[in-house]
């Protein structure tokens, strides 16, 4: 299995600011995924973070708004830029390891 840690676990931010979320995995993995879960909704994939290349973004998500770093095989960051209240959500880091998907504990973001 893979153990994932994420920080911060929660934050309250003002609109217009940016927040960087960190994700650390205890195993080397090729791909790391960033999901968003807005209130009352299921998980939506934001992007796939690839080590050594640019992240791959899903439709509706752009690099300027959600820049991602992946400096090595165990770590990634997601930045939520120029935040608005619509960005209030849970952000989850995830990896696939031995065909099973594991999730980090999540970051609950509230934008006021």
């Amino acid at each position: 299995s893979a153990v994932i840690s994420q920080k911060p676990s929660r934050d309250i931010c003002q609109r217009g600011t940016s927040l960087t979320i960190q994700c650390q995995v205890d195993s080397q993995v090729t791909m790391m995924f960033w999901y968003r879960q807005q209130p009352g909704q299921s998980l939506t994939l934001i992007a796939t973070a690839n080590q050594g290349s640019e992240a791959t973004y899903e439709s509706g998500f752009v690099i300027d708004k959600f820049p991602i770093s992946r400096p090595n095989l165990t770590f990634s960051t997601l930045t939520v830029s120029n935040m608005s209240p619509e960005d209030s959500s849970i952000y989850l880091c995830s990896v696939v390891y031995s065909y099973e998907q594991y999730f980090g504990p999540g970051t609950r973001l509230t934008v006021t």
């Binding site: 791909m31 995924f33 909704q41 299921s42 998980l43 939506t44 994939l45 796939t48 791959t56 899903e58 849970i90 989850l92 696939v96 065909y99 099973e100 998907q101 594991y102 999730f103 980090g104 504990p105 999540g106 970051t107 609950r108």
Partner: protein, 111 residues
């Protein structure tokens, strides 16, 4: 377009009841179907199903996959208040990188 649909969207039962949660899917190059329980933030893994007709069981929870009819069910017997959570179904494919998640079923078990 690949999609995963769960039903019901929400369910309220009394302790001791048995519940059945449904997940149907339409994806190309199906590889596996996974069930998760989400209580607070992060989903926790329950089952992974790859073959039709083989029941997976863990305590009071069990699940089975029908690859012909493209659905899976998750059964919870003798429900307890601790079973209250959102149950997510996700499908993995041989193409692309992402797991396709359903909208989830919100289960509330009342004493």
């Amino acid at each position: 377009e690949d999609k995963v649909v769960q039903s019901p969207l929400s369910l309220v039962v009394h302790e001791g009841d048995t519940v059945t949660l449904n997940c149907s899917y339409e994806v190309t190059n199906f590889r596996s179907l996974l069930w998760y329980k989400q209580e607070k933030k992060a989903p926790t893994f329950l089952f992974m199903l790859t073959s039709s007709g083989i029941e997976k069981k863990s305590g009071r929870l069990s699940s089975i996959l029908d690859k012909k009819e493209l659905f899976s069910i998750l059964n919870i017997t003798a429900t307890q208040t601790g079973d209250s959570a959102i149950y997510l179904c996700a499908v993995d494919t041989n193409t692309g990188n992402q797991f396709y998640f359903g909208t989830g079923t919100s289960l509330t078990v009342i004493p």
